[in-house]
C-alpha cells in the first residue's frame, strides 16, 4: 500500500518526522518498506506545453515537438504515440537524472543528436520519472498544471510504501493508516463530514436492490447519480492516484479507485441506463452461465459464484469484475454506485478460479467487514456530483441482511499479564485501546471492548492483548528466560546416528552434498535399481519437469552431482548424501525412509608428489564401509547381491545380525557401466547405499566391554593354496571357529606362475590368544595342525611350501 503523506495529513496531524513515523508504523506491524520522495529525483524536470509538432526530417516514427517552458522554449525529438498539441507534459532538461527504461537505472540526460537532429532535453514517460512502470507513451499532466514550474512542486510528495499483513485489510487504505498514525503520534483522526445535495425522486422509486444469497452478501448499498459527464479527473485526484501507483483513466473510474484507496472499500459503478428495470439482484450464477467481463473475455461461471444481476441477466461478478453489458462508457450519464460486502472465502475462490485478482478482490478476500460501505459510498457519491457535475437522487439504498451487533470482548489484566509478562492495569489497557479507536470501558480488572467496524480482525481477547502490547511497544517487554523446569528430554538416536555417519565419512575424505528432493522421471529411470520399482510419487502441479517427482532414491542426483563436478574436478571425487526418499503407500502419506548414499570415482587418494595414482574400485568402497561400521560399532557381513543398478559381478549386500535375525543394511558395488555412461562419467564409479532405519537398532545397541588380554599372544603365518573358486570367507568361517585364535588377517593374495593353473595362494596371519595363561608352542602347534587339517578336508586346501 502506497500512502502519500499529503493525503495522510488530510485526516491526521503528523507530529513526528517522517522517518520516525515510519519506524513507529513498522514497530507496530505496518512495515514501511521504503520512503519514496517522489519528485526528490526530479531536478531539472519542469512542466511544459506542447505547442507544435512537426515531422522529423530523417525518421518516419519520430516527431519534433516544440515545448513551451514559460520563459523559453525547446524543440526536441520525441517518438511517443500519444504526443498531442496542447498537452501539458513533464520536460527534462539536459542534466536531469532519469531512469533508463531498459536498464532501470538512473542516468544523467545529455544533449544528443537523434537521426541528425540536435535534441536538448526530453519529454518523459512515467517510467523515466520512476512514477510507474508505464512506458507506452509520455506522461500527460492535468490541464491546470502550470507551465514553467518544477514538476516536483506540482506533483512531488513523500510516499510511504507499506507492507500490510493479511489480517489488516483496514490498513489497505489511507484512512486506516491514518488511524494507526494517530495512535503513534498521540493525535486524533479527523474524517471530514460528507455533505452533498440530493435532488429529485428518491432512489427507491428509481432502483431496487434484492439480496437472494444473503450468506454470500451481508450488505449491499447503492446510490444513484444522474446527469453525469464522463471526463478527465482534476489534477489533484490524478496526482494522488499516480502517487499510489494507479493510472488515472476518467472521473468515475478514478473516483471509485480513489475511494477504495481512501477507505479500503472497493466500489463498482454501473451504467444505470443499462440495468434492466433499474434492478439489482444479488444471486449465485447459473451453473455454466456465460458472461463477458469488461476486459472483453468470455467467462464460464459456476453455480457457486456470486453475481450481481439486473432484472434479466448477470451484470457483474460480485467483487471480482464488472460486465461489458453494464459498463460505464464515455456516453454514460447515470451511475448506479455499488458499495457492498461479500463473503471473503467465496470471493477468494471465485477470483482464483477465474484468474482475476485485483486490488478490489484482494481487499474483499481479507474480509473488510460491512461497516465501510456507507462512508465510502457517501464520499464517492459526493465526488461524482462534484467532479462529474451530476445530480444525486434522494437517499441511498442499504440492504443489510447480515447485520450483527458487534459482540463486546472482555480483556482482563490477569490474562494480559499471563500472556505478555507485563502487568498493565485497566487504565493503561483503556488508554491503548482507545487510542486505536476501540471503544472500551474499564470494570475493575476487566475491560469490556467493542471492535470498531473497520477492525474485522479483532475477534478474541488475545487480539485485544496484542493491541495493548503493540501500543506500548514490544521493545518494552522485558526479556525473561523460561523459568520452568526443563521438560523431559529423550535421546534422539536417529539424529545422533546421522551426525556420527556424517562426521565419520567427512573424516574419510567424503564431501557431504545436499540435493533437492524433487526430481525428474528421466533421472529416476536412469538409476532404477529394480525394474519392478513402485511408481514414484508425482506432484499434481509441478513447476518444471526437473522437479516433478519425489525421489525414490538418492542415486540419480548424486551421480548427476558427480558428473557436474567432473567438469572442473580432477583426481578423486567422493560424495555422500543423507536424506529422505519417498515411497508411496496406499491410502496414507508416503513412507519417508532416511537413506545414506555415496559415490566415489577416480583416484583413491588425493594426487600428490609422494604417491602414485590409482583408480578406486570395489575394494575401496568396501573398505570405506568396513571403516564406517567399525567406527559405529556395528558388525557387518557381505553377501552376494543382485542390484540392477550395479555391476553384476562387482557388488555385495551388507548384512548384520539383530537379535539373532539377519537384516540387510544396504548394498555396495561398482555402478553398472551402462548407468555410468548414462551420466557420462568416465571410469569406475563406486557406490554405497545404506538404510539409516536398518542401522538404527544396531547403532543404538550397547556392547559390553571385553577385557584387554593379560597374557602375551602368539603369531603364526599360514600360506594356503586353494582352488580359485574358494572364497576368503569360507576359510575365515573355519579358522575363526577355533577358540584360541583371536584374530585372522589376510595379508597376501597371489595367482600366477608360482601356483598351479586354477589355483590361488592366500596368506594369513593367525593370532593365538588364551584369556587365562600364556600359550605354549605345543598348544599352538596342535591347534594350527587341526586348522590345516580341517581346511584340507573341507576346502581341499594345501599348505604352500
Amino acid at each position: 500500500m502506497k500512502v502519500p503523506l499529503k493525503w495522510l495529513k488530510d485526516y491526521v496531524k503528523i507530529t513526528l518526522p517522517v522517518t520516525e513515523l515510519a519506524e513507529g508504523l513498522t514497530a507496530t506491524g505496518l512495515e514501511v518498506g521504503e520512503i519514496i520522495n517522489t519528485g526528490g529525483a526530479w531536478e531539472n524536470v519542469i512542466i511544459g506545453e506542447v505547442t507544435a509538432i512537426n515531422p522529423h526530417p530523417n525518421a518516419d516514427r519520430l516527431k519534433l515537438a516544440t515545448v513551451n517552458l514559460g520563459k523559453e522554449q525547446e524543440t526536441v525529438v520525441c517518438g511517443a504515440p500519444n504526443l498531442n498539441k496542447g498537452d501539458k507534459i513533464a520536460f527534462a532538461r539536459v542534466g536531469a537524472r532519469l531512469i533508463n527504461p531498459e536498464t532501470r537505472k538512473a542516468e544523467e540526460l545529455k544533449a544528443a543528436k537523434i537521426r541528425g537532429v540536435e535534441s536538448r532535453g526530453m519529454i518523459c514517460s512515467e517510467r523515466e520519472l520512476g512514477i510507474s512502470d508505464s512506458h507506452e507513451g509520455i506522461m500527460v499532466l492535468a490541464g491546470e498544471a502550470e507551465v514553467g514550474t518544477a514538476l516536483a512542486d506540482f506533483m512531488g510528495d513523500t510516499v510511504l510504501d507499506i507492507d500490510v499483513t493479511a489480517n489488516r485489510p483496514d490498513c489497505l487504505s489511507v484512512v486506516g493508516i491514518a488511524r494507526e498514525a494517530a495512535a503513534i503520534c498521540g493525535e486524533k483522526v479527523n474524517i471530514p463530514e460528507i455533505i452533498y445535495e440530493e435532488v429529485g425522486e428518491p432512489i427507491e422509486k428509481q432502483a431496487s436492490v434484492e439480496i437472494i444469497d444473503s450468506e454470500l452478501c451481508p450488505r449491499y448499498c447503492a446510490s444513484l447519480i444522474t446527469n453525469v459527464k464522463i471526463k478527465e479527473s482534476p489534477a489533484w485526484l490524478q496526482e494522488r492516484l499516480i502517487a499510489c501507483g494507479q493510472r488515472p483513466i476518467s472521473n468515475i473510474v478514478d473516483i471509485t479507485n480513489y475511494i477504495m484507496l481512501e477507505y479500503g472499500q472497493p466500489l463498482h459503478s454501473f451504467d444505470y441506463e443499462k440495468l434492466k428495470g433499474g434492478k439489482i439482484v444479488v444471486q449465485r450464477a447459473k451453473d455454466g452461465e456465460k458472461f463477458y467481463t469488461l476486459d472483453g473475455e468470455e467467462r464460464k461461471l459456476t453455480g457457486d459464484m456470486l453475481t450481481i444481476r439486473d432484472g434479466e441477466r448477470a451484470v457483474a461478478i460480485a467483487g471480482v469484475m464488472g460486465g461489458l453489458n453494464s459498463d460505464v462508457t464515455e456516453s454514460t450519464t447515470s451511475i448506479l454506485l455499488e458499495a457492498a460486502s461479500f463473503k471473503a472465502t467465496s470471493l477468494h475462490h471465485t477470483s482464483r478460479y477465474l484468474g482475476l485478482t485485483s486490488e478490489a478482490s484482494m481487499r474483499f478476500e481479507r474480509d473488510i467487514g460491512a461497516g465501510l460501505t456507507i462512508p465510502a459510498l457517501k464520499h464517492a457519491t459526493q465526488l461524482i456530483a462534484e467532479l462529474g457535475g451530476g445530480k444525486v437522487a434522494k437517499g441511498i439504498i442499504d440492504v443489510y441482511p447480515g447485520k450483527k451487533d458487534p459482540e463486546p470482548i472482555t480483556i482482563t489484566t490477569e490474562k494480559t499479564e499471563r500472556l505478555i509478562g507485563v502487568a498493565y492495569n485497566s487504565e493503561q489497557i483503556v488508554k491503548a485501546l482507545t487510542a486505536l479507536g476501540i471503544e472500551c470501558k474499564a470494570e475493575g480488572a476487566k475491560v469490556r471492548a467493542t471492535a470498531p467496524y473497520w477492525r474485522s480482525d479483532i475477534k478474541i481477547e488475545e487480539d485485544l492483548i496484542e493491541e495493548v502490547a503493540r501500543f506500548y511497544g514490544y521493545d518494552k517487554i522485558p526479556l525473561t528466560l523460561l523459568g520452568q523446569e526443563i521438560p523431559r528430554q529423550d535421546p534422539s538416536p536417529e539424529i545422533n546416528l546421522k551426525k556420527a555417519i556424517t562426521t565419520s565419512l567427512a573424516g574419510m575424505g567424503f564431501q557431504e552434498i545436499m540435493n533437492y528432493s524433487l526430481t525428474s522421471l528421466d533421472m529416476i529411470n536412469k538409476v532404477a535399481s529394480d525394474p519392478d520399482t513402485v511408481k514414484p510419487l508425482r506432484l499434481t502441479n509441478p513447476m518444471t519437469a526437473d522437479q516433478e517427482y519425489l525421489r525414490p532414491s538418492l542415486r540419480g542426483n548424486l551421480l548427476s552431482t558427480l558428473a557436474a563436478n567432473r567438469r572442473h574436478e580432477e583426481g578423486g571425487v567422493a560424495l555422500f548424501e543423507v536424506g529422505k526418499v519417498y515411497i508411496p503407500r496406499k491410502n496414507d502419506l508416503p513412507d519417508e525412509p532416511e537413506m545414506l548414499c555415496g559415490v566415489m570415482n577416480g583416484d583413491r587418494a588425493e594426487r600428490s608428489w609422494l604417491g602414485s595414482e590409482s583408480a578406486c574400485d570395489f575394494y575401496d568402497v568396501k573398505g570405506v564401509m568396513e571403516g564406517l561400521f567399525r567406527q559405529l560399532g556395528i558388525d557387518i557381513s557381505f553377501e552376494n547381491s543382485q542390484d540392477e543398478g550395479l555391476h553384476p559381478a562387482r557388488q555385495a549386500a551388507i548384512t548384520a545380525t539383530n537379535n539373532g535375525r539377519k537384516v540387510k543394511l544396504g548394498v555396495i558395488g561398482e555402478v553398472h557401466p551402462k548407468t555410468a555412461d548414462a551420466f557420462e562419467i568416465e571410469g569406475t564409479v563406486c557406490l554405497f547405499e545404506i538404510s539409516i532405519g536398518a542401522m538404527l537398532p544396531l547403532a543404538s545397541q550397547v556392547k559390553m566391554y571385553k577385557p584387554v588380554p593379560r597374557f602375551p599372544s602368539t603369531v603364526r603365518d599360514m600360506a594356503l593354496v586353494v582352488d580359485t573358486s574358494v572364497t576368503n570367507q569360507q576359510i575365515l568361517d573355519i579358522v575363526k571357529g577355533f577358540k584360541l585364535i583371536s584374530e585372522v588377517e589376510l595379508f597376501d593374495v597371489y595367482a600366477g606362475k608360482q601356483v598351479a593353473e586354477g589355483k590361488k595362494s592366500l596368506a594369513y596371519r593367525l593370532i593365538y590368544q588364551a584369556p587365562d595363561h600364556t600359550l605354549t608352542d605345543e598348544e599352538v602347534n596342535k591347534v594350527q595342525e587341526q586348522v590345516t587339517a580341517r581346511l584340507a578336508k573341507e576346502l581341499g586346501v594345501t599348505l604352500r611350501k
Partner: protein
C-alpha cells in the same frame, strides 16, 4: 710416585683434548683407564707401599681416575651431540613441500547450521522432533488456523501430491515446519519444548534469495506461566549465541495466523553493524524469524487448554543464517553442490 701421577694426568688430558671421534675416545679409555693402563698399575701396586705413602698415592690416583672418567663421559656426550647435528643436517626436509595427503571431507554448510542451531535450542531444554515432508492439509494449514481460502495460503502456495485425499484432507509438500508443531501439540502432553527442522516446499519462483525447496526450523514451548517475555528471552539468547554477543535485536509486530500476538525478530545487520547497506536495504536490520504466542485455536486443536497453559512458537529459514554469517549472496549455491563452494565450509 706422585710425580708419575701428575705426568699421567697432564698427558691424558692433553690427548683427550685432541680426540674428535668415538673410536679414538675408546682407544684413549683403554690407554688411560684400561686394565693395563699405568694408573691401574699404580692402584694395584698400592699394597706394596708404606701406610703413609699408600694414603697419599692412593688418594691422588683415585682422584685422577675419577677426573679422567668424568672427562671421558663429557667428551663422549659432546662427540655424540656433534655427530647428531651433522647427521640431522643430511636428513633435512623442505618444509614448503605439501604433506602426504590424508583424506579431509566436509560436512555440508546447511547440515552444520542445522546442527548448530538445534544444539543451541537443545541446550535450553528443547527436544528435536521431526515430521513428514509430505503432509496432510490438516497439519500444514487447518490445525494452524489457516482454513481453506485464508489469504495466508496465498503466501504459501503449495505443491500438491497426486494421491487420494484422506480424513485430514489433501496431501501436499509441507510449506513450513510449523506443520510438525501441529503434530507435536497433538502427540505430546505439556510441558513441551520442541524444535523441528526439515525441508519445506513452496510453489514459488527461484532466485538468489528464494528457493522453492529450503529448510526451516520451528520451535514450540508450552507450559504454565510462559509469557511473551520468555519468547523474547529465548530468541534473544539464540541470536546472541549464533551471531555473537554484542548484536542488537529488535522485536516488532507481525502477523501469522497461528500466533497472537505475532512477533518478528530482526538482528542488527551483520554486514554494516546497523549503519545501513545493500544487504539490509539500508535499514540496518535483518529480519530473521517470525514468532508469537501460540494462538488459542491452535492449542485447542492440539488438545491443550489455552487458559491453563501459556505457549510461544517461532520459525525461521535455515539458509539465511549461513548466508549472513559467511556473506553468501546466492542461496542457490547451497544446492548446486559445486565442490569448489562446499569445500570452503
Amino acid at each position: 710416585m706422585l710425580n708419575e701421577i701428575e705426568k699421567i694426568k697432564t698427558e691424558a688430558l692433553k690427548q683427550l683434548g685432541g680426540t674428535d671421534n668415538a673410536k679414538d675416545l675408546e682407544a684413549w679409555r683403554v690407554k688411560y683407564l684400561g686394565k693395563k693402563s699405568p694408573l691401574t698399575q699404580i692402584l694395584r701396586g698400592l699394597a706394596g707401599l708404606s701406610i703413609e705413602e699408600r694414603k697419599a698415592v692412593g688418594a691422588a690416583a683415585n682422584q685422577l681416575k675419577n677426573q679422567l672418567e668424568n672427562a671421558s663421559t663429557e667428551k663422549e656426550t659432546s662427540l655424540r651431540e656433534a655427530q647428531l647435528k651433522t647427521e640431522a643436517q643430511k636428513e633435512s626436509v623442505d618444509i614448503s613441500l605439501p604433506g602426504r595427503p590424508y583424506p579431509a571431507g566436509h560436512v555440508h554448510p546447511i547440515t552444520k547450521t542445522i546442527n548448530e542451531v538445534s544444539d543451541i535450542f537443545v541446550s535450553m531444554g528443547f527436544q528435536i522432533l521431526g515430521g513428514p515432508d509430505v503432509e496432510w492439509d490438516y497439519y500444514n494449514f487447518e490445525a494452524l488456523n489457516i482454513p481453506d481460502e485464508h489469504p495466508a495460503r496465498d503466501n504459501m502456495s503449495s505443491f500438491w501430491i497426486d494421491a487420494p485425499s484422506g480424513e485430514k484432507g489433501k496431501q501436499l509438500l509441507r510449506t513450513h515446519t510449523t506443520a510438525i508443531t501441529a503434530r507435536t501439540l497433538e502427540n505430546y502432553e505439556p510441558p513441551i519444548r520442541a524444535v523441528e527442522v526439515g525441508k519445506c516446499y513452496r510453489y514459488e519462483a527461484t532466485d538468489a534469495t528464494h528457493l522453492n525447496i529450503f529448510h526451516h526450523i520451528d520451535g514450540i514451548a508450552v507450559d504454565k506461566g510462559i509469557t511473551m517475555g520468555d519468547l523474547k528471552g529465548v530468541l534473544y539468547e539464540f541470536a546472541r549465541r549464533y551471531f555473537g554477543g554484542e548484536r542488537k535485536v529488535r522485536f516488532r509486530v507481525d502477523y501469522f495466523p497461528f500466533v497472537e500476538p505475532g512477533v518478528e525478530m530482526a538482528i542488527e545487520c551483520t554486514v554494516c553493524k546497523g549503519a545501513g547497506c545493500r544487504v539490509c536495504k539500508n535499514s540496518g536490520w535483518l529480519e530473521i524469524l517470525g514468532a508469537g504466542m501460540t494462538h488459542p485455536y491452535v492449542l485447542r486443536r492440539g488438545g491443550i487448554d489455552p487458559e491453563e497453559y501459556g505457549s510461544f512458537a517461532f520459525g525461521m529459514g535455515i539458509e539465511r543464517l549461513p548466508m549472513l554469517r559467511y556473506g553468501i549472496e546466492d542461496m542457490r549455491l547451497f544446492y548446486n553442490n559445486d565442490l569448489r563452494f562446499l569445500r570452503q565450509f
